[in-house]
């Protein structure tokens, strides 16, 4: 007589560790664990659901015009991309205007850049001089298309100081 029957339980469960498992208990436990596994696998499968294979963002690449459009000293801000293009003697550079702290848009000041949200300050090369920003403003890769136009890839970071030589 199993423990379950002794206690008057309707559904027996063999809990004696020395005893070999009965067929009924084996099937019952298999069904229970199969059920649990099905739930677990469904959940694991659903984990991928919130992240689509293709994000809805538009391309990070955009054309800015020909090199000769940028005379030395030119400053051009692409507002919809939050990128600033600067031209000096050494070449053209593309710098992000998105604060590396929490994503606010920095504005250009006489000495560099200032973030309105938490007071981060950057110098004219985008390096942090004050405030909570953890790293310098992103610099982006500039390349020339076969037609001669310049292309900025705002998805590709380059080291601070990398300029496109003209």
């Amino acid at each position: 007589m199993s423990t379950g029957e002794k206690n008057g339980l309707a559904c027996r469960l063999n809990i004696d560790p020395d005893k070999k498992i009965s067929r009924r208990d084996f099937l019952g436990l298999s069904a229970t664990w199969a059920c649990a596994a099905a739930w677990a696998l469904t959940l694991i499968g659903l984990l991928k659901f919130p992240k689509p294979a293709l994000l809805p963002d538009i391309s990070n690449k955009f054309k800015i015009g020909k090199p000769e459009d940028f005379l030395v000293g030119t400053v051009k801000i692409f507002e919809d991309k939050n990128v600033i293009i600067l031209r000096d003697e050494e070449g053209i550079l593309a710098m992000s205007l998105v604060c590396t702290h929490l994503g606010c848009i920095v504005s250009k000041t006489s000495k560099g850049f200032a973030c309105p949200c938490h007071g981060s300050r950057y110098d004219e090369k985008g390096r942090v001089i004050r405030g909570p920003a953890p790293r310098a403003l992103d610099w982006f890769e500039i390349s020339q298309l076969p037609g001669g136009k310049l292309l900025v890839d705002a998805g590709k970071r380059v080291p601070v100081g990398t300029k496109y030589a003209v």
């Binding site: 919130p50 994000l55 809805p56 606010c104 848009i105 973030c115 001089i129 004050r130 909570p132 953890p134």
Partner: protein, 515 residues
């Protein structure tokens, strides 16, 4: 011709109102104890209450009705939220205009939106105060640890509901508050960047994409926040709230002291049974008694100073609900819910401030995004959750500040915390922090040593000091809890009133430079 059935038919029609009432309500008028109990246990909604309630639980100066007020404001939020869903359109193009429609075109729309907005404030304030009440009366002890955990979960859900509701109007404030908040979620990058393995392991970026459904804030983000705000979070809230209420009963009612004097019960309702003393064991017993814990049967003592829940408890709950409702309505008549210009992803608000209940965090975030936004809040929540598991010593519960034993610790901690937080803020405003002195300093140093982490270190050491001094974990917990609470309030006040454009310090808002 048999007229009997026809007679019966007309009699039944005549008696229909009476029989209908009897089919709904099965008890008599609530004039007897029995009928009063039946009202409570025979009704699915009242059933969450016990049939009798201890007089101590009705003491005004014990609970201040804070839990009921918080739950009432949730009900108000639920109803007004469902009403707002009729007109609100969750799309980037239409959201802002639909809020304007609610404000200017929909009859009563502005009022309902105002109530929805201001009831949030009531809920957040009372949830915090309720937590403080439970903590300072040690009401998380004696089998109530799990309900305390549920309470912490409810606090988190409350804040998440406030946060997700914030994006929906799609105005400037909403857009930039959400920019900041989702970047806080991504701020583990501050750590992974410093250690140079963001490329391999980027939980921050993953969290951000999960929240926004995109790399930037747009249609996908709005739909996700809408879904969280209107379905997932309210549903989770209702489920956890139901268990929270249920557990109050199952854990033996509101926490109350073992020794209650007549003076304790002054001002609470009495009924003839509440001071009755049984001098002999009841003649009748119930088979289920063997499952009930505790001393039984009740011999030579009264039925524990209880009164029937109907009407004593019910009338108090309804009163608190009506007061909460009246307060939010007046608030809504007096002040309109804010709506700024349409969201403009190119120009941030200056200053871009989150809703007030996140401003304390925003002040911390202005020292280090990761520590202020993730590290310290996670630590605080973990600490809160662990309180009943680390402070397990048996003691008298249900009295404010442990019957004045903890009062000294609380007052000392209040003073200590006020001084350290104000001192730290003054120091930071006046002298800046590490990067102002050593511009080349690595980010990792600032992440771990900033005004926020220094404050936490001060609070923790203060707490250990009291643990040693009073030889009590409870006193250490009171010290730490008080420090965090006071710190949170001061930081919130400071960021709300003294931070202006570029997050600079200003004494008054009138000193802000014009745009």
């Amino acid at each position: 011709m048999h007229l009997k059935a026809i007679q019966e038919f007309f009699k039944n029609i005549h008696e229909f109102p009476k029989t209908l009432k009897q089919s709904v309500v099965r008890h008599d008028k609530p004039t007897s104890e029995r009928a009063r109990s039946q009202i409570v246990f025979g009704n699915i909604f009242f059933h969450i209450l016990s049939t009798r309630i201890h007089r101590y639980s009705l003491k005004k100066a014990y609970t201040f009705g804070l839990g009921v007020i918080a739950a009432s404001s949730f009900v108000i939020l639920l109803v007004t939220g469902i009403l707002l869903m009729v007109y609100y359109k969750p799309s980037v193009e239409l959201a802002y205009d639909s809020i304007k429609d609610i404000h200017f075109i929909v009859p009563g729309g502005r009022f309902i939106r105002n109530v929805h907005r201001w009831a949030t404030n009531v809920m957040i304030v009372t949830v915090f105060l309720h937590m403080a009440r439970v903590f300072y009366t040690a009401a998380y002890k004696k089998g109530r640890a799990f309900n305390w955990l549920l309470g912490i979960l409810l606090l988190v859900l409350t804040l998440l509901l406030g946060f997700t509701g914030y994006l929906l109007p799609w105005d400037q404030l909403a857009y930039w508050a959400i920019t900041i908040a989702t970047n806080i979620a991504a701020s583990t990058r501050e750590l992974t960047d410093a250690l140079n393995f963001t490329h391999y392991f980027d939980p921050g970026g993953f969290m951000k994409v999960l929240l926004l459904g995109s790399e930037s804030i747009g249609e996908e983000a709005l739909i996700r926040f809408y879904w969280l705000h209107c379905i997932i979070l309210p549903f989770a809230m209702m489920m956890v709230l139901a268990v929270h209420f249920w557990r109050i009963r199952k854990d033996g009612g509101l926490a109350r002291p073992d020794h209650i004097t007549e003076k304790d019960l002054e001002g609470t309702p009495e009924d003839p049974l509440s001071d009755k003393v049984f001098t002999y064991a009841p003649e009748k017993t119930y088979g289920l008694m063997c499952l009930v814990k505790g001393k039984s049967p009740a011999v030579n003592r009264g039925p524990e100073q209880t009164v029937s829940s109907w009407p004593h408890l019910v009338i108090r709950i309804v009163t608190l609900f009506m007061l909460t409702f009246a307060f939010t309505c007046l608030y809504a008549l007096w002040l309109n819910a804010p709506l700024k210009e349409l969201a403009n992803p190119a120009v941030p608000e200056n200053p871009a401030k989150a809703p007030w209940y996140f401003l304390g965090l925003q002040e911390l975030v202005s020292y280090s995004a990761f520590m202020g936004g993730v590290g310290i809040p996670a630590l605080a929540l973990l600490g809160l959750a662990l309180i009943p598991y680390l402070d397990r010593r048996d003691q008298e519960i249900g009295r404010w500040f442990d019957n004045k034993e903890g009062k000294q610790v609380a007052i000392c901690s209040f003073v200590f915390s006020s001084l350290t937080v104000i001192g730290m803020l003054a120091f930071t405003v006046k002298f800046g922090w590490l990067r102002n002195w050593f511009p080349q300093i690595p980010q990792l140093v600032i992440t771990f040593i900033n005004p926020g982490t220094v404050l936490v270190a001060c609070f923790v050491s203060w707490s250990f000091y009291w643990m040693g001094k009073d030889n009590s974990i409870r006193m250490a917990a009171i010290a730490l809890f008080t420090c965090f609470l006071v710190g949170f309030v001061i930081l919130t006040y400071f960021a709300t009133y003294h931070r202006g454009p570029n997050w600079e310090f200003y004494w008054l808002q009138s000193q802000w430079p014009g745009h």
